[in-house]
Symmetry: C2
Subunit: 157 residues, 2 copies
DNA sequence: CCATGATCGACAACCAGGTTTACTATATGG
DNA sequence: CCATATAGTAAACCTGGTTGTCGATCATGG
């Protein structure tokens, strides 16, 4: 019964693994010319997605205010990752869509995540990796698609 | 071979589990009167530890500049979590140590992490949990004690 | 013994990314 | 037709990073 490791070892290992995958993605992105993207931007690009979004919707997905989402969109627009166009059906809305550069980020991220998963399958063997995924799913049921890490981590409140 | 889930599912599950543990800790901390602590502070308290530290050392552990560490220390001092005392052996240094309130945060965090681990052992069974820990250790060898999440997540360079 | 260089902590100016409050313009439903 | 709700923007502010600079203190080599 004696657990020699301190209690925060498991959370730290979870975070380390998450971080290793994200670092791999951003290493690849940096090599592909996307130098200035930070880990947090991964959540933003996922939240925008190939279908596009709006400032309010993005804010809700990221767990931040619509104003913060608007600032993020403006910054990504300056960097050429998204473009805004008026919504033909609602003059209040501005549709935010990924440019080719933005889609490149999303595509490369997906490929690198897949590559990392393949490496992990190589290390553990496919069975243990699938078991690990299933166990994680049991521990955090339903929480998969939450992208509100920016609001979660920041100072806010 | 066909993996239907998108590649970022596994990293997201890792992050979700990490986050569930940290949220449990901060829920308990909030109930114990430590209302305003953010997830990031967990790393700071761990980096200070029961043995204390200095601004330079804390900056190195957290992966931020010594100035940022100094600001963090000043903020925690205002909130009563740490106290500074001149180092008798080196008049340049100021020893930073946790107050009783700071030690309370550390103790409660450890207890809550242990409680979460026990809950997870209950969900998966002890064998699967230990296997999960071992697998995570295989995936991220040696990366356990890195506490530089603040610098990793933030905007910086 | 002291001059030089390294180190520690602080301050200032700045930046990124959050917040709240307030506002305009546009939809929408009674 | 008007009242209300919603989308986006702007301003002022906060936190927590950054770099550059600086005075004070230690450590070392001549």
């Amino acid at each position: 019964m004696g657990e020699s490791a301190p209690g925060h070892e498991l959370p730290l290992r979870l975070f380390a693994a998450f971080r290793a995958a994200v670092d791999a993605v951003h290493d690849d992105l940096a090599r592909a010319g996307h130098e200035h993207l930070r880990p947090m931007h991964g959540f933003v690009f996922q939240a925008i997605g190939t279908r596009g979004t709006t400032a309010v919707e993005l804010g809700a997905r990221l767990g931040v205010s619509k104003q913060a989402a608007g600032k993020t969109i403006a910054a990504l627009e300056r960097q050429g990752y998204v473009e805004r166009a008026p919504d033909p059906h609602d003059a209040r809305r501005k549709a935010v869509r990924l440019t080719d550069a933005g889609r490149d980020v999303l595509d490369r991220s997906a490929r690198t995540f897949a590559r990392v998963r393949a490496q992990w399958a190589d290390t553990l063997g496919p069975d243990r990796l699938e078991r690990l995924e299933a166990d994680l799913a049991d521990l955090t049921p339903g929480e998969i698609w939450r992208l509100d890490a920016p609001g979660w981590f920041g100072p806010e409140r």
